[in-house]
């Protein structure tokens, strides 16, 4: 692909950025919501660690690491989160998918570019206040090493692509099912758990931890936070990032294949 082939998608990224900017007020309340989540989980973990000696760890996490894990997980989420699934469901329900398809661009590329643009806005305007508030209020650790911090940053972009593709796949179910409210809700809670946002996957029962290894979800939240905490030696940082990239590629191919099959089933509501 040449650079001009990407030009429309770059334009989509820009439009998504501007579109999100129009609703920036919404993000100020978002900061409070994120703060409430992190506070809740912080005190929950604190209560659990009260049974331990000070400095003692569970599954390799002491209280300070656990607080950092939770806070960094939510900071990352403030960047990679998107509603691609809901956007597609709305396009189908309102029949606006017709307008989307009348454009000379790939649906897949358009949806991912949209998510990417919104996340760039979040990175500039939402993640910094979330991070500042969390660092001021909780005793959080800095990244383990400079390289770990960099790997965390790169990993968040790959998380964004995995998260967006999972949502794209869920959203495309609406081609067949028309209403996917229930599925989206189930996905939301499953993803909070399986991504490692609520707790590190090492806390899962053995079978679930093993299963998670074969799924892309833990690379959304567990991996970036683990990189931040230095759970991988600097020399091996490339390995998890490579695996994460392969998941992006795999999910991308899966989405392309499903689109080629399912777009034929599309029905357009309304006149």
């Amino acid at each position: 692909m040449t650079a001009t082939a990407f030009a429309p998608y770059a334009a989509f990224v820009r439009a998504a950025f501007l579109k999100t900017l129009a609703y920036r007020l919404r993000y100020y309340t978002g900061v409070v919501t994120y703060l409430i989540y992190v506070t809740t989980y912080y005190f929950l973990w604190k209560a659990l660690y009260a049974w331990k000696e000070p400095g003692e760890s569970m599954q390799g996490f002491d209280l300070e690491s656990m607080a950092t894990y939770i806070a960094v997980g939510w900071m990352a989420r403030s960047f990679y989160f998107n509603n691609v699934d809901r956007d597609i469901a709305d396009l189908i329900r309102e029949g606006d998918v017709a307008m989307t398809l009348a454009r000379p661009v790939s649906f897949h590329g358009m949806m991912i570019a949209d998510a990417f643009g919104a996340s760039l806005f979040r990175l500039l305007c939402f993640t910094p206040p979330v991070a500042i508030v969390l660092f001021l209020l909780f005793p959080l650790k800095a990244p383990a090493t400079g390289w770990a911090g960099l790997a965390f940053f790169v990993s968040c972009f790959l998380s964004l692509l995995i998260f967006a593709h999972v949502n794209l796949l869920v959203g495309m179910m609406a081609f067949r099912l028309h209403s996917i409210q229930g599925i989206m809700r189930a996905k939301h809670y499953l993803l909070e758990l399986l991504s490692g946002l609520l707790m590190p996957v090492t806390f899962f029962p053995g079978w679930l931890e093993n299963l998670s290894r074969w799924l892309p979800f833990q690379d959304i939240a567990y991996l970036p936070a683990s990189l931040y905490l230095g759970r991988f030696p600097d020399a091996q940082l490339w390995q998890p990032l490579l695996r994460q990239s392969l998941w992006v590629l795999g999910l991308g191919l899966l989405a392309a294949w499903i689109w080629s099959r399912e777009s034929r089933r599309l029905t357009v509501h309304g006149g």
Partner: protein, 337 residues
Amino acid sequence: MTAVDVRDLRKTFRRFRRREGLGGALKDLVHRRSETIEAVNGITFSIEPGERVGYIGPNGAGKSTSVKMLTGILTPTSGRMQVLGMEPFRDRREYVQHIGVVFGQRTQLWWDLAVIESFRLLGKMYRLEPGRLDERLGELREILELDEFLHTPVRKLSLGQRMRADLAASLLHRPRLLFLDEPTIGLDLMAKDAIRSFLKQVNERFGTTILLTTHDLRDIEALTERVLVIDHGQLLFDGALDLLRGQADQESVAVLDFLEPPEPEALRGVGDWVRWTRLSSTRFEARFSKSDRSLARFLGKVVADFAVADVSLPEPSIEEVIRKIYQERRPEREVMA
């Protein structure tokens, strides 16, 4: 080369039938009954470059479904469809670069962005050079009076402004073929006129082929030379507008105002070839089949026998013409409202 060539086009949908009541809902949980809907049922037509064609029919006739197939959004169930030498669905991304689409009830613009931002974005999408985009905008901004809202977010536009913006958006890449699905819906008379004359200009200046669906028959009268009439997924008429009008001209209609209420007996006395309908106590409508002397004979007799205040001979509206075609071709079915 033909612009649009459609042969025996069909589209069937499967729809689940919901049974009534709680018991029905429970039965549906176990076994859903489906039925097949033939939305488009074997349509054949072709359109030459530069033509302006109206596509009309009642709600649910299959107009929108066929337009969605022609624009590459839906796949046909069967049949052959060549538009601008391409197969719309299969070649979608290449194909849509050469067509413009306006759906009156939807917008292709970005709701939260200023109009000009949407245009820039579309320019990028159609890979127009920036200079080319400005040039096209320059052509459009005056006739569509875009300047008054170029920097306003789309969600704040009036319906008429939005439609003008959408029309401009659909023409930025100078499409060879323009599909318009109810482009004047909900607009006031002035705005409708503006849109109609604009479309005519586009067609004449750039040779853009236009296919237009509408419920407003004045759109058809003002814009198109040729009409396709569709109902129940089938093509009922394909030809010049005048020919369509001619079909209904087999009957003359006269509306008469009498100075005082006429005796029904006396009206019948005019002749059994006249059918009378009472519109008010002194206003009556007369219908009779058209022949060389029938109108003269009718008027002569009425003026001689009654004190007539006024006579008018209304042109048959196209709506009426279409209703007649439906009734003739499909007498066993009710016309859908």
